[in-house]
């Protein structure tokens, strides 16, 4: 499998429910970031978690990172119709911190009103 694979590939839930998406990666990382992409738009940064952090919160978002399992999860609580989008994890593996992000395959989230 490739660096940064999310599962599930697609998720449909009722508005108000919680949505959980998972990301696995293969190499050592400096940080892991989650981005949202609405259809036809650019990526919007949601949250960054560093390799020495285990959990981070931002509003309705909760991200966990388990470096021993090389995995991360994104939880969106109390989902809203506006949360419908694709969600990508991205890892920074660089030695110098100025290079690329490697994106996962994404989870397409649909919130049913």
């Amino acid at each position: 499998s490739q660096q940064g694979e999310e599962d599930p590939q697609a998720l449909s839930i009722q508005e108000g429910e919680n949505a959980t998406m998972n990301c696995s990666y293969k190499t050592s990382i400096n940080n892991l970031q989650w981005y949202r992409q609405n259809s036809g738009r650019g990526l919007v940064h949601l949250i960054l978690i560093r390799s020495n952090e285990r959990e981070k919160h931002s509003g309705r978002l909760r991200v966990t990172l388990d470096t021993s399992k090389k995995s991360s999860s994104l939880l969106i609580t109390a989902s809203r119709a506006a949360d419908t989008a694709s969600y990508f994890c991205a890892t920074d593996e660089s030695d110098f911190g100025n290079e690329k992000l490697t994106f996962g395959t994404g989870t397409r989230l649909t919130i049913i009103p």
Binding site: N31, R41, L43, G106
Partner: protein
């Protein structure tokens, strides 16, 4: 809130022609990136640019591609001798401090090669 802007939003070009995609990064950012996303696929890194030079490039970024920061505000991606497989969304991004800080993305240029 400052944002990254990209022009044009959609570019249609005949195969073999050259295209220039333009980006205006956020003004106080120092790191600039181009990514592409072929329809239905993941976002792929092309190149990063810092201190007026390329800091890293992917295997995709071959001699067909070049980047330039011609002035203090614009950041361009040039694709020479375009091929059908160059059709994709091209995203510009910028960051204050490399990949260890959030990258801010533009809305992309949809490039269609005919």
């Amino acid at each position: 809130e400052p944002e990254v802007t990209q022009t044009p939003s959609h570019q249609v070009t005949q195969m073999g022609q050259e295209v220039i995609l333009r980006c205006v990064p956020i003004s106080n950012h120092l790191y600039f990136y181009w990514y592409r996303q072929i329809l239905g696929q993941k976002v792929e890194f092309l190149v990063s640019f810092y201190n007026n030079e390329i800091s890293e490039k992917s295997e995709i970024f071959d001699d067909q591609f070049s980047v330039e920061r011609p002035d203090g505000s614009n950041f361009t991606l040039k694709i020479r001798s375009t091929k059908l497989e160059d059709s994709a969304m091209y995203f510009c991004a910028s960051s204050e401090a490399g990949a260890r800080q959030p990258q801010h993305f533009g809305d992309g240029t949809r490039l269609s090669i005919l």
